[in-house]
Symmetry: C4
C-alpha cells in the first residue's frame, strides 16, 4: 500500500507516477510514447488521473502497454489529494459548441457529420481521425476517384420495389457495404466501437472489429445481438502465439471473416497528427531540447499502439493462417492486380483493395482504381467475373454517398467498407448518429437504385458506368500568375445602389 504522499513526490518528467483506479503506475519512460502527448500526463504527475483517464482509454490500456515492473501497486485512497480539474477556455468553447449541434433531422448526408464533428470534437481526437500520410494526397484521391466515374442509367424498368441487399462472405447484409475497422473509437465518444455494434444491429449491416479498438474485443462481441454478424480485422503480432490465440478466440466467438491487414508493416507518418502533438507538449521543454533532441517523438501514438505489428509478415505465412482457422481469410490492403491474383491462387476468400484510408503510403492509388484493374486482369488471366462469390473483392476509402458504393458494385465489388464517416457520426451524436448515417445510406440506395433502373444488385452492371477517366492522374500546368492577375473577370448586370443581400 503506497501512500498518496509518496506518489506526490514523483511529480516531474524525471520521475512521474500517476494513480488510476487506485493503482499506482510509473509512467516516466512512457511519457514520450503517450498518444495524447506528455503534457497531459505531467499535469497529473503525482496525482490521481482517473477522472481524466476514464473517458478516453480502454480499461486495460495502461496495464497492456506499461511493462509489469511499472505497476507499482495500490495506493491508500485516504491519502490521495483530490485533483481539481481546470477546464480550459478552448474546452469550454467546445462544450458550448456541442450544446449547439443541429438536430439530427437537419443532417442530410454523411458530409454533415464530418462538419459537425470537426466543430465538437477535441482537436487532438479530430487530428487523429482526420489525418493521413505525408501530403495527404491519397486520402483525397480516394474520394476524388469516385468523381471520375459516371453513370449510364437505364429507363423504363419497373422499379416499384428495389432490393439492394447482398451477401458478404456468405452473410446477409442489408446493403452492399460494411463498417470497416478504425482504431481508438473512444477518442470520439465514451462508448467507442459499441456505437457501431448497436447501430449495425439496427440496420442489418456487418461491423469489422479492429485489433486496435478502444473497447476490448469481447465487449464488442458481447454487445452484438443474437445472430448479428461481425468480422475481425487483424494486425499480426510478432509473437504468433498471441495472434493464434486471438484468431481462435474470435472463431469461437462466432466471427465470420478474418481480414488480415497487409498494408501496414509500419504505421504511416501522419503529420497533421504529429503537428498537433507539439501543442500537447510542455513548450518550455520543447524549446530546451531543441537541436540536441534526438528522440524521435514524432510517431508517439502510432508507435505506442503498433510496435507489436510484425513487418516480417510474408506470403509464406498464409498456409499457417489457413491451418489455424476455418474462417474465410481476406487480405486487407491489396494494391495491384498481381497481389490479388496471388491471393486468389493461394485459395483466399477475397481481398480488400485499400490504401488504409490514405494513412500509409501517399500516392498509393484509390481502391476504386485498383478494382478496375483487378477485375480486368483476373478476368483475362483466370476467367473470373465479378462480383464473384468464391473470390470477393472489396474496396474502402473515400465513400460518402450510396452512389459511390454503386459505382464500385457496377465495376465488380461485392461490398464497400466505410470507416471515418461513422467515426464522425458517433463523435457528434453517439449511436443515434450512426443510426442516422445508416438510414441516410438506406434512403440513398433506394433512391439511386430506382434512378439507375436497377431492381437488384445483379442489375448494377459494368455498362452502367463510364470509368474511362478513372486512371487519369492529372495535375494542371502551373498557373500563369502574371496573365491571370491581369485578366479582368466578366461582371453580371448589377442592381442599382442597394443595401447588400442579408
Amino acid at each position: 500500500m503506497i501512500s498518496g504522499k509518496e506518489v506526490a513526490t514523483h511529480n516531474s518528467r524525471e520521475s512521474c507516477w500517476i494513480i488510476v483506479h487506485g493503482k499506482v503506475y510509473d509512467v516516466t519512460e512512457f511519457l514520450d510514447d503517450h498518444p495524447g502527448g506528455s503534457k497531459i500526463i505531467l499535469k497529473y504527475a503525482g496525482k490521481d488521473a482517473t477522472a481524466e483517464y476514464d473517458p478516453i482509454h480502454p480499461p486495460n490500456a495502461i496495464t497492456d502497454h506499461l511493462p509489469a515492473e511499472k505497476h507499482l501497486g495500490s495506493v491508500d485512497p485516504e491519502t490521495v489529494l483530490k485533483v481539481k480539474v481546470e477546464v480550459s477556455d478552448e474546452e469550454k468553447a467546445r462544450v458550448e459548441r456541442m450544446s449547439k449541434r443541429p438536430s439530427l433531422s437537419e443532417i442530410l448526408n454523411l458530409h454533415d457529420f464530418e462538419a459537425i464533428a470537426r466543430m465538437v470534437m477535441p482537436e487532438k481526437a479530430w487530428a487523429y481521425y482526420s489525418s493521413a500520410a505525408d501530403d495527404e494526397i491519397t486520402i483525397r484521391e480516394n474520394h476524388a476517384a469516385y468523381h471520375r466515374v459516371w453513370f449510364r442509367p437505364r429507363i423504363l424498368r419497373d422499379v416499384t420495389t428495389v432490393d439492394y441487399s447482398t451477401k458478404i462472405l456468405g452473410q446477409v447484409s442489408s446493403m452492399p457495404m460494411y463498417i470497416t475497422a478504425t482504431a481508438l473509437g473512444k477518442l470520439g465518444h465514451p462508448d467507442g466501437e459499441l456505437n457501431l455494434t448497436r447501430a449495425a444491429a439496427n440496420h442489418g449491416v456487418i461491423q469489422m472489429i479492429p485489433t486496435l479498438a478502444s473497447c476490448s474485443f469481447d465487449e464488442i462481441v458481447d454487445a452484438a445481438k443474437p445472430g448479428q454478424v461481425q468480422f475481425l480485422q487483424l494486425y499480426v503480432n510478432k509473437d504468433r502465439a498471441i495472434t493464434k490465440k486471438l484468431v481462435q478466440h474470435a472463431e469461437t466467438r462466432g466471427i465470420k471473416g478474418l481480414f488480415i491487414t497487409v498494408d501496414a508493416p509500419q504505421l504511416g507518418r501522419r503529420e497533421k497528427d504529429m503537428r498537433m502533438k507539439f501543442d500537447a507538449e510542455d513548450p518550455a521543454e520543447v524549446t530546451e531540447n531543441k537541436q540536441q533532441d534526438r528522440v524521435d517523438r514524432s510517431q508517439g501514438a502510432a508507435r505506442a499502439i503498433s510496435s507489436f505489428i510484425d513487418p516480417g509478415l510474408d506470403w509464406k505465412d498464409i498456409p499457417w493462417f489457413q491451418s489455424i482457422t476455418k474462417m474465410p481469410l481476406i487480405l486487407k490492403g491489396v494494391q495491384c492486380w498481381e497481389d490479388a491474383l496471388e491471393a486468389y491462387d493461394r485459395g483466399l476468400a477475397g481481398v480488400v483493395l485499400s490504401n488504409h484510408g490514405g494513412r500509409q503510403l501517399d500516392f498509393a492509388r484509390s481502391g476504386l482504381e485498383i478494382l478496375y484493374e483487378v477485375v480486368r486482369e483476373l478476368g483475362a488471366r483466370r476467367g473470373l467475373s465479378f462480383p464473384n462469390e468464391k473470390f470477393q473483392l472489396f474496396v474502402d476509402g473515400g465513400v460518402r454517398r450510396a452512389t459511390d458504393v454503386l459505382k464500385a458494385v457496377a465495376i465488380g465489388a461485392t461490398a464497400v467498407g466505410v470507416g471515418r464517416p461513422f467515426l464522425y457520426a458517433f463523435s457528434s451524436y453517439g449511436q443515434e448518429g450512426v443510426d442516422k448515417a445508416l438510414q441516410i445510406l438506406h434512403d440513398e440506395f433506394e433512391m439511386n437504385m430506382r434512378l439507375l433502373g436497377a431492381r437488384n444488385l445483379s442489375e448494377v452492371v459494368p455498362s452502367m458506368v463510364d470509368a474511362s477517366s478513372l486512371s487519369a492522374h492529372i495535375v494542371a500546368v502551373p498557373g500563369d500568375t502574371l496573365y491571370d492577375t491581369n485578366y479582368e473577370s466578366m461582371q453580371h448586370a448589377r442592381l442599382r445602389e442597394v443595401r447588400a443581400k442579408i
Copy 2:
C-alpha cells in the same frame, strides 16, 4: 357554415385549420408535406390565409392535394378576424432590391437574369429552382460539357442572310430550341407559366407545358395565340385512367407532341432545397423532436407534388401510349444509346437526352455527351444520320448561349430545351424578361451563324466542332498545400505609392 371563432381554436400543430377563399381546410396532417415548410402555415393556423396563399399557389392546389374529408366547408365571413401581415426585414430588403433592378437594356445575356433573380427572388423559391441532386455535380457538368466542345468555323461564305429556323416534330420553330417543362412557375412570378406562353408566341418558339405547372393546363393552352404550337410533358400517373384522360384532352386541345418523362420514377433529393426548409420550420419544434423524429420531412415538396408518379412505368407500357394518342411520342430522360436504340426500334418519334437538369441522379452524364454517343451508335447500328426527321434527338440542361445550342445541332440534335434561364427571366422581369431572353438568343444565333459560316442549320455539321474531349471526366490530383503555400507568386511592376484605383 363554420364560425371564424371555431376556426380560431384550431391554431396549433395538433389541430390546424386555415381559411382560403372563404373555405375552411384541416391541414394538420399536411403540415409536414408542405413544400414551403410548416412554419408559414402555422402562422395562419386558425386564420384567413388567402392573401398569403394567392400569389404562390395554383387555384386548385389545395383542393387537389388535400383529401376531400379535410375540406370542412364555408366560413361565415363576418366572423373572421383580419390577419395583419407583418413583413419581415428580409422581405423588405428583397422588395427594395426588386425596385433596384437594372433596366432590361442592361441585361446582356442569359446569365444576367440568374444574377438578378438570385437577388430579387424569395430565398425559398430560389432554392427550389436552383437546387439539384446530391452534391450538385451533374447540374454543373451539364454546363461544363459544352465547354469541352470547340468550334471549327468556315470562312468566305456569303452570310449576308442567315436562317436558323427549323422544324421540331414537324412544327416550325424560329430557332433550334424550345422552352422545356419546369414545375411551379408561380414561385417566381404570379403569372407563372403564362409568362412563357406569351413570350413564346412573340418569338415563334415552342413551349413544353409541364404536368406540374402552377397554372392549370387549360389556362396555359388558353393563353396561346391561334396557331401557336405547344407540347406536353407527362408524368405518368399510377392510375392510368387519369393519364389517359389527360393525354386525350391534350390532343383535343391541339398539343403537338407528348414528352413522357422517364428519368423520375422517384423525385430526386435536392439538399439545398431541403436545407432551406429547416429555416422555414418552427425552430423550437425542430429542437424538441430531435432524435425521436422518424418522420422523413426531408422530401416534403417533392413528395407532395409527385406521389402520384408511377415508379412501375416500363417499356411494356409503350404500346398502350401508342394506342391512346396519335401525338408524336418522345421519351424525356434517356441517358444511354441502348435506350435510345430501343426507343427507335419501338417506333417512337424521338428522345430527349437529359438528366432532368441535374435534379435526379448525380453523376449522370450531360445530355451533350450522351448525344455524341447516341449519334455514333445509332449510325453504326441502324444506319441513321442526324438530325433526322423520323427520329429526332433533343438535349437539355446547362444551356446559356446560342453557341451551346449550335454545338448540339452540329453533333446531331434537332433542337435543345432551355428551362431555368426562362424561370429566372420571369422571376426578375415577368414576361418582358422572357421576351428579352428570347431576343438575346435570336441575336446570338444570327451573330454566331455568321461567324460559323453557316447560312442555315443544315450547314451546321459535325466537322464544325471538335468534340474529342467531350468524355474526359477529369479531377485534378489533390493539391499539395505545403508546396503551394510556400510558393511565392510572381508580381507585376507596380505604381509607386498611389491611392488605390477606385
Copy 3:
C-alpha cells in the same frame, strides 16, 4: 455662318448639335451609335466639343461617319461660349496614377505593360481594348494553348551567336513576329498607331496597318522611315469600288502584303465593353426607356465603325482581288485546315490562323492549335512542309513571351502577330513603351534561342516541342464543395508568436 446662340438651343437628346474645329454637326441620330456612349456627347450638346474630341478621334472621324446632310456648316467663333471642362474625381485619380508609373527599366516583360495600362488608361479605353466575345473563353484559351506545348531543347551546340531574323512574304524582319492590326489606337495614346510605326522602324519589325486605325492610312505610311516595310489589314467594303481604291492606293504607297480579314462578317459582341457603355449613358434615360427600349444600343462602337463591312464576302471574290493588285494576298482569320487548303489551292500567299484575338466567335480554337492541324493536313494532302516560303502560315493571339513565338515557329509558323501588348505599351508609355516591348522580345529571343540550342530559326524544328496535349480541352469535374470544405489543409511549422512579416 451659324451663330453660337443658335447652336446652343440644340442641347438635348431630341436635337443635339455640337461644334468641332469650328464646324457645326447635327449628331442627334448618331448618339446611340457613338462608341463612347451618348452621355459624353450630350455633355457638349449645343457647345464646342473640340477640346474633348481631339485627343481621342482621328481628324476625319466625324466627317467620315456622319452623313453629309448633318454637316451644318461653320460657326461664328465669336459667338461660341467657352466650355469649362470639369475633371471628375476618377479622372483626377487616373492622372495621378499616370504620374506614378514605374520607370521603363522596371518593366521586365510584356505582362507588365498590361498591368500598368489597366491602372492608367481611361476605363472605357481599357474596356474596348481588353474585351472579347461572349464569356471570353477564347481570348484566354489563346494564351493557355501555349502552355500546353513544352520544349525539348538541345545541348552542346555552339550558340555564341544566334540569329532569329527571318523573311516574311519576302521582307526582312529582325524577329519572327510582326505588329498585327488593332483598331482605335488613339483611345490609348494621342499618337495612336504612329507609336507603332516609329518603334517598328527602330527594331526592324513589320507593322500591319489596320483599316480601322485612328490615324489615317497616309499618316501612318508617311511616318515610316525609308525602306520600312508595312502590311495592310483589309476589311472589305460592301462597295467594292472603295475597296479597290484603297487597295490600289496601298500598293502605290509601297505596302508589301494585303491581309484580308475573313473572320468578321459581323463584328462580335463584347460584353465587357457593352457593360461599360451603360455607365456612359445618362442613367435617368436608361431607366425611362426600360422595357420599351427596342433600339439595340448594345453594339454601338462596333456598328459605328463596322457597318460598311461586307458579310457577303465569298471565295468567289478571290479572283477579283488577284486581278486588282500584285501584292501578296493573305487571308486573316482562317480557322481549320479545310479553308487553309482552299487558300493554298487558290494560289494565295498564306493564311493567318487566328480568331481575331478572341473578339469574334467564342470557343473558336487558338491559332496555335489550328496551326498544328494545318501543318499536318497540308503535309499529308499536298506534300508541303512548313515554314514554307511559297505558302506562309501565321498565327496571332495570346502571345506574351518569345518562347510563345518559338513554339509556333517550331510547329511551322513563319511568324507570329502580336497586338494587344503593344497597345498596352503605348497606352502606358507612348512610343518608348513600344520600343521597350520590342527590346524585351529581342532579349528573350536571344536568350531562348541559346537555351533551345538553336543557332537560327531553321534549327527551331518540330522535334523541339512536345505538342501532344495541345488539343486537350479539359474542364475539371465540378468540385465537391461539401467534401472540400470539410478537408482541413496541411499546415507548415510556424514561428512562435511573432509580429507579421512586413
Copy 4:
C-alpha cells in the same frame, strides 16, 4: 598607403571607392553589376564596408571579379572613420523572427524548412534562391510532375529490414540521392556550402561542389572527412586553360565525378530576383534614368558571376575533357533522349536529366518526364536497361519527399539530386538544419521502402509505378466567370448560433 580622408571623397555614383579588409577598391564601374544592387554599395561609398561584406561574400569575391587596376592598395587604418551600421526596421523584424524559429523537432518535412526560411532570410537572398525563369512554370512543373506518378505497392514481403543504400558512379551512398550544386551559399548562412559538406559526412551522402560556391573549392574539400565523397559541378570557362587547371586540381584533390553543366550557355532571366533588385537601387536614380537607361541592369547578379561561361561549348569539346581527366564525366542538363543517346555513344558516364531547377528555359520539361522517355528510347535503340552501372541516369528538381525519389528510381534513375531544400535548411538552422533534413529523408526512405514492399533498391522496379499520366500537360479551359459566380455552393449543416471555433 591611401588615407581614409581621400577614400572618403569618392563617395558617389560618379566615383565610388570602398574599403574591405584594409584594401581600397574602385567599384564605380561595378555598381550596376553588383548582385545585391548598387544601393547597398553606395551606402558605403568612401567608407569601410568590411562588416557588411564579410557575412555575405566569399573571401576572394572582390579580388576575383574586379579587374586588377581597380585594386587601389592599402588604406591607413588610423584614418578610416568607423561606420555606424543602422539596422532597418525590416531587418530588426527579421532578426526577431529568427529568434522565434520553432525547435528542429517541430520540423516534420522538407517543406517546413522552406516555410521557415522564407520568414527568416533576408528578402534578397530569398529572392535569389527561390526565383526561376520567366513565368516560373517549369520550376513548379518540376514538383508537379511527381504528382502524376502513382505507386503500385506490393504486399506480404518480409520488410523487417530494408536497405536503400546504393552506388553512384561507383561510390557508396546511404540513399539514392545526392546534394546537388547550388550557387552563393553564403547568402543564406555565413558557413555557406560548408554546412552541406559537414552534414553530408554525417549521413553518408555525396555533395556536388558548385563552380559558383560562396566558399572556395579548397575550403569545401578541406572540410570533408577522410573518405568522404564529393563531386564537382563545372561551368566551362571561355579560357579553357582555366577550366583545365580547375579540373585537374579537382582530380588531384580526390573529386570522384565531374558534372559538366550543359543547360546554361547564358544564365536565365529570373524576374522575381530582378524585381527585388529595384528596391535595392537608389530610387531617385531609377526615376531619373528612366527612358534613357539603355544599360541592361536586369541581369546584374547573373552577369557578374557568369560572364566567363562559354556559350560556345559543343559536342566537339567532349574528347578534350576525356583527355584531361580520368574522372567520370557526366553531362548535367540533358533534356531529351536524343542528347542522352549521344552522350552514351560518346562514352560518357551518365547524364543528369535536369532543367537547372527551372531557372533557365521556361516550359522545359521536368527531369522525371525526360527520364521516362530516355529509359524507353535507350532501351529500344541500344538495348540498355536502367538503373545501369555503365551509363547512369540522374534527375533533379522539385524533390521534397523520399517518395519522389523512389518514383524516379522505379522508372530508372540511379539517384536524384536535391538542391533548394538544403539551402532552406541551412538558411534557417545552419548545419543542424541540413542534418535534420537528411534524417527526415532517411526516415521517409525506411518507411516507404517498407510500404512499397521493397527490401532494397533493386526491388524498386518500373511496375511499382503508374506513370501513364506523366506527359499530360493540361491547362483547364478558362473558367466561365458568369456561370460560376451565379452558382451558389452547397452548405453543411451548421451549429446554431455559437461563438466561432478558436
